[in-house]
Every structure is written in structure tokens, then in C-alpha cells.
């Protein structure tokens, strides 16, 4: 288990507090809550994009919260995927590997494996702007895991997909997380995500308190 402690965020007149929360360090841990409950804010805090003095995120001996953003070695997929539109699917993934310092040989090996698992070979040379929703989602996932991240953080990655594509995408995510053995935190409000993906579920209400601050 990795442990999150002392997370306090003041934002837009609210204070969100998580005193202590244990996240699975293998499989898929789902954080569930209604829209606007602060799930994405918690995720951004773990990434390092929110001011959270005193936050501790212990994974083994390492306090990830104390590390700068680029040193945390996280894989991230946002709701809108945010691919680099001027690059092809392959180049998006290659860029991620390059900045992580993955050697060319290792990248080729990992790329062959991941692109097969995610069925990317057909569209890998297409400019990401021109990809379909499902293809973008798979490219974003490949980009997030190519660098062997310590943790995979997913912020409602299927919400922009049609229902039939979502099922296929969930299946792919489950397979790849298991095969790559990457601990994953998935934030969602979709019950089907919980049903088909979760190894453990946490409700926002169970871990977080939200207080309106006086002006």
C-alpha cells in the first residue's frame, strides 16, 4: 500500500482535507465520487499541481510528495487525453520515452509489446489530431505507461468515449495494467468503471472532508 497523509487544499473558497488514505500498490484502485466532489483536485495534488504544504505520499521508502513533478515518475491520462496534436501517435509515445531516458532498444521492445496490446499498429503513424476518440485514448495510455511509471493516474479517461468503445477500453486498461504491473489510481463517477475495473474502491465521502471557508 502507498499512503497519502495530510492533504489540504484551499481552492475557490473551499478547503478539501484528506487526513489519511491508503492506495493499493498493485492493481486498480478506484476513487469514486460525484462531479465536483474534488476527485480531480486530489489527483492534481498528487501530481504536484496544487499547493499542498505538508502533504506526504509514501510509497515504500520514498515520499513522492517531496519530489518535484518531473522526478515523481508518474503516468497520467486526463479526461481529454491531451495528446500533442502535431505529433503522430507513435511520436507522442516516443517523446514520453525520450524524456524518461529510456534507451532506443528498450523503447523498441516496450513499444512492440504495448502497441500490440493496445492494437495501435494501424494508426501509429497518424497525426494525433486526426485520431478517433478510442485511438486517442489508447495513445494517451501508451504514452503514460511507456516510461515505466511508478504510478498510473487516470482522471475519468473513458468519459469522452461512446458506450461501446468504453467496454473495449476498460478491457484493454485492465490487461495492460496487469501485464505491466503498474499500480493504478482511477478517478471516476461511472459505476461501470467500478464494476469492471476496481480491485478496491474508495468513496470520496469516506476519505475527504470539504469545508466552505469564510470570506
Amino acid at each position: 500500500m502507498s499512503t497519502v497523509e495530510n492533504l489540504k487544499i484551499n481552492k475557490s473558497g473551499f478547503q478539501l482535507t484528506v487526513d489519511r488514505w491508503e492506495i493499493l500498490d498493485e492493481g486498480i484502485h478506484v476513487l469514486m465520487g460525484a462531479s465536483g466532489s474534488g476527485k480531480s483536485t486530489i489527483l492534481k495534488a498528487l501530481m504536484g499541481f496544487e499547493q499542498t504544504p505538508g502533504l506526504i505520499w509514501k510509497m515504500g521508502d520514498i515520499n513522492l510528495a517531496a519530489l518535484p513533478i518531473d522526478k515523481k515518475n508518474l503516468g497520467v491520462v486526463f479526461q481529454t487525453w491531451d495528446l500533442f496534436p502535431h505529433m503522430t501517435a507513435f511520436e507522442n509515445v516516443q517523446f514520453a520515452a525520450k524524456v524518461r531516458g529510456i534507451s532506443a532498444d528498450e523503447f523498441q521492445t516496450r513499444w512492440s509489446l504495448i502497441s500490440q496490446q493496445l492494437k495501435m499498429t494501424e494508426f501509429s503513424n497518424t497525426i494525433s489530431e486526426q485520431l478517433s476518440g478510442g485511438e486517442k485514448q489508447r495513445t494517451a495510455l501508451a504514452r503514460a505507461i511507456i516510461g515505466k511509471p511508478r504510478f498510473l493516474l487516470l482522471d475519468e479517461p473513458f468519459s469522452a468515449l461512446d458506450a461501446d468503445l468504453r467496454s473495449e477500453a476498460r478491457l484493454m486498461l485492465k490487461e495492460i495494467v496487469r501485464s505491466q504491473k503498474i499500480p493504478t489510481l482511477l478517478v471516476t463517477h461511472d459505476l461501470d468503471d467500478v464494476k469492471y475495473l476496481s480491485d478496491k474502491v474508495t468513496q470520496m465521502a469516506d476519505i475527504a472532508s470539504v469545508v466552505r471557508l469564510k470570506k
Binding site: G48, D70, V76, D82, F84, H86, F95, V99, G101, G147
Partner: protein, 488 residues
């Protein structure tokens, strides 16, 4: 990453408040400000800006009906009309002035002249703003109104204009702010009776060397513009856009108006150029001066382009723009054009060669905040998540800039820098303040204009169009080559 962002943010902030700091550090508020003179100048500024805005809004509204009419039915005509509407914005102000002064003889110098030129220069842009906002606001109600049998006039009177009221007020306020701070047009056609606040500031420094009064006047102007901008921040109406054509609401009257005004513009400009051709022999008096001026204008454009591109590149290095910087750039109001230029006069030596530094810098200080607000800032902010993802991957700031940010900002930046360079090429107002001699085409044309040598002014303004067109086409060419390389 944190340090780079902080350093760049502080440097940007410092750059844009430096004109204020320089002026404040040298001069203090004048206790004995001539209130009568101030009131007279403010009255003139308000009168011309309000009248210009009213006429502009009226013409713009009528013209927008033409754009709406041709929106879906005649896309080619629609595109041509948009081009005509934007023509006065893209042409150097001197060309617009020459055309109008040729067409209206005797030209009414003073407030009337200012209003005429302002209204003509901005009616097209106003039409586009109204058309765009109509698409955002009116599509939801149109089909229901048509089903009910509402007439076009009734629709506009009872539904369209009330729904657009907020936006029209916003556009009106924006126009007033633009016209209030206008410098180049009142400088030439204002005459003695039409002295605006901006021109008074210029005269205080240039002729009376009364810097204290000039600074005081500048702060009064900044305060007025701040209040106007605050009113403008009330926001735009936004409903869910539907895929409904507004064509029914449009009118060919708008099309005729646009064509009439622009054909009139072209005819009066052409007649000036033709009359200038008859005096072409007089150009020999200038000798090599014209060629030097042509080259100097191009060189100035090149320096402005380079400075802008360099600055935009560094700004992009910031990556995620700090919210205070974003708010600052969105709300920043430059001190008056004249005083920004005078701040640069203080900062740099007076030798003529320094004009090649001062003029591009003045364009940066005066132009960048507008470009930021006109969409460049939004484009950069839209890359926020991509930059965040690259950061979590471990990419360094320069890596993010080189591989992620700049490839997506380059084209937009090039266009903006090209626009600035074109304006610098055709400029006379900023150059008039910052330079000691008529070394550019714009300055020569302005001198001819103010001495009523309309024929030669028209002819040389044509040369100015060629120079500006040459600048802009180089920028477009570079972009085209870049896109082809990217495609291959």
C-alpha cells in the same frame, strides 16, 4: 522549471510596467495642472470617441446584416466581404487617411475629421464582432420566432437587439476605449481645435517640455480607460450555439453598404495615386532618400518581427502562465502611446540609429498586450494540460518549449509578429515621436500629408502598401514553407 517561470514572469512584469516606473522616477505630479486645458482635451477625446463609436456601431450593425445574409448561402461572397471589412485594419493608417482625405475635399479637419476616419477604419471590424456574437446569441431563438411568424424587423426589435444589448454595449465600450487613446489619427487630422488628451500629452513634451503635466495627463487618461475597461469586463452573452443559419435575419443592404464604402475608398485612393503619378517628376527631388526610406521601413519591420518572435518564444518558455501574469496581461493598459514613446526617449540615447531599437520596443510594449488579449494568450493557455503531462513525464522546460509548446504556437506567433512588423513598416506616429528625422516611408508620407501635397502623399503611400505587402507575404511564405516541411 519553477525558477525559469519565476524569472520570466518577473521580467515580463517589469518590462511592461517600466514605462510607468521610468516616468514616475523622473517626474512628479504637477500641482498646477491646467484644469481648463485638461477639461477641454478630455471633452474633445470623449466627444470624438463617443461620436466615432456611435457611427461605427451603426455602420457596423448594418454591415453585419450583409455578412449574416451571405454567411451560408454565398460563402465566397462572405469571405470577400470579410476581407473588405478587415482591409482598413490591415492597411497602414496613412493609406486610409490618404484615401479619405482625397475623397472628401475640403477635408474637415478637427473633431469631424477624426470621427470620419475612425468610423471608416473600424466599421468593418465592428461588423465582424456583431456577426460573430449574433451567431452565439441568436441561433437558439430564431427557429421558434420564424415558426411563430415573426417578421424580420419585429424579430430584431423585440428579440435580437434586446438579446444582443449586453454585447453591443461591450463593443461600444471597447470602441470608445480604442478611439479615446487613438494617437495617429488625431495627430494628423485633429488640427488645433480637435486636440485630444493623447495629442495634448504629446504636445506637452514635444513643444512645451512640460513633462510633469504630461505625466499627470497620462495618469488621468489611464484612469479613464481603466474605468471603461472595467465596464467592458461585465462579460459577453453566451448561449449554446446551434447549427441554425441566421441568413433570414440578414439583408443585402449590408452588402451594398460594405461594397459602397470600400469601392468609394478604392476610387478616392486610386484618384490620389493617379494624380500623384502626374507629379512623379517631383520625386526626383528626393533622390536616393526614397530608396533609403523604403529599405529603412523594411529593416524596421524585420527588427520588429524579430523582437516579437523572440519575446513570444521566451514567453512560451514560461509554459504554464502564472495566473497573476495572465490577469496582468489581460487587463494591462499601456500608458499613452506618446508617453510610452517618451519613456523610451529617456531610456535610450538620442542618436538616430537608436530609433531602430526604440521603435520595435515601443511596438512590443504597446502591441503585445493587445495581441495577448486577441487570442494569443488563450491559445497558449489551451496547451496547459499538454504541458502538465509533459512535466509529469519528466520533460525539462526547454524540451517542452521545443517539442510541445512552440510547434503549436509558432504559426500563430508568426502571424502576430508579421502583423506587428507590417504595422511598424507603415507606421508614422510612433516613429514621429521616437526619431529625429524622416527616415521611413511612413514619415515622408506624413510630412507630405500635413503639408497638403496630396498627390505625392498618395503615390508614396502606394509604395508603402508595396513595402507592407512585401513584409506580410514573406511571413506568410515562411509559414507556408514550414507547413509543407511539416506535412512531408
Amino acid at each position: 522549471m519553477f525558477n525559469t517561470r519565476v524569472v520570466l514572469s518577473v521580467a515580463t512584469l517589469f518590462l511592461f510596467i517600466s514605462p510607468f516606473l521610468i516616468l514616475l522616477s523622473f517626474f512628479s505630479f504637477d500641482q498646477s495642472l491646467d484644469i481648463k486645458e485638461l477639461w477641454w482635451a478630455v471633452k474633445n477625446s470623449f466627444t470624438q470617441s463617443a461620436l466615432s463609436a456611435v457611427i461605427c456601431l451603426f455602420l457596423g450593425f448594418v454591415a453585419s446584416l450583409g455578412l449574416i445574409k451571405t454567411q451560408t448561402k454565398n460563402p465566397i461572397i462572405h469571405a470577400i466581404l470579410i476581407g473588405l471589412c478587415l482591409l482598413p485594419q490591415f492597411l497602414p493608417p496613412l493609406v486610409v487617411l490618404v484615401a479619405i482625405m482625397n475623397g472628401l475635399q475640403p477635408f474637415p479637419m478637427g473633431l469631424s475629421g477624426i470621427v470620419i476616419v475612425h468610423a471608416f477604419s473600424y466599421f468593418g471590424m465592428t461588423a465582424l464582432l456583431i456577426e460573430n456574437q449574433s451567431k452565439n446569441v441568436l441561433t437558439q431563438t430564431l427557429q421558434s420566432a420564424q415558426i411563430l411568424g415573426v417578421s424580420k424587423f419585429r424579430y430584431w426589435w423585440s428579440i435580437g437587439l434586446p438579446l444582443l444589448r449586453k454585447d453591443l454595449v461591450l463593443i461600444f465600450t471597447y470602441l470608445i476605449a480604442v478611439f479615446f487613446t487613438s494617437f495617429s489619427i488625431p495627430l494628423i487630422v485633429g488640427g488645433g481645435k480637435g486636440t485630444t488628451l493623447e495629442v495634448l500629452i504629446y504636445e506637452k513634451v514635444r513643444f512645451s517640455t512640460d513633462w510633469s503635466s504630461a505625466v499627470s495627463l497620462s495618469f488621468v487618461q489611464t484612469a479613464i480607460i481603466f474605468i471603461l475597461s472595467f465596464l467592458a469586463l461585465k462579460g459577453r452573452t453566451q448561449f449554446a450555439k446551434q447549427n441554425t443559419s441566421l441568413q433570414w435575419l440578414g439583408s443585402y443592404t449590408g452588402v451594398f453598404l460594405i461594397i459602397l464604402l470600400m469601392v468609394g475608398f478604392l476610387i478616392s485612393y486610386s484618384s490620389g495615386v493617379i494624380s500623384g503619378l502626374q507629379q512623379i517628376g517631383n520625386l526626383s527631388l528626393y533622390g536616393n532618400e526614397l530608396i533609403e526610406a523604403f529599405l529603412a521601413s523594411l529593416f524596421l519591420a524585420f527588427l520588429t518581427y524579430s523582437l516579437f518572435m523572440g519575446f513570444l518564444y521566451l514567453f512560451c518558455l514560461m509554459g504554464l502562465v502564472y495566473r497573476p501574469i495572465d490577469i496582468f496581461m489581460s487587463g494591462y493598459i499601456a500608458p499613452s502611446t506618446a508617453l510610452t514613446c517618451f519613456a523610451l526617449l529617456i531610456l535610450f540615447p538620442g542618436d538616430h540609429l537608436w530609433s531602430y531599437i526604440k521603435i520595435p520596443l515601443a511596438f512590443l510594449l504597446l502591441g503585445f498586450p493587445s495581441l495577448y488579449r486577441l487570442g494569443w494568450g488563450e491559445k497558449l493557455k489551451s496547451l496547459k494540460n499538454q504541458i502538465r503531462i509533459a512535466q509529469t513525464m519528466g520533460a525539462k522546460p526547454f524540451e517542452i518549449l521545443k517539442s510541445i509548446t512552440w510547434p503549436q504556437m509558432k504559426s500563430h506567433s508568426r502571424f502576430m509578429s508579421g502583423l506587428m512588423a507590417t504595422w511598424a513598416c507603415g507606421d508614422f506616429a510612433i516613429s514621429r515621436v521616437l526619431s529625429t528625422k524622416d527616415f521611413t516611408l511612413g514619415l515622408i508620407v506624413e510630412s507630405l500629408l500635413t503639408s497638403y501635397r496630396m498627390g505625392l502623399a498618395s503615390l508614396l503611400s502606394f509604395l508603402l502598401i508595396i513595402a507592407c505587402g512585401f513584409c506580410f507575404s514573406i511571413v506568410l511564405g515562411m509559414d507556408y514553407v514550414d507547413r509543407r516541411k511539416f506535412k512531408n
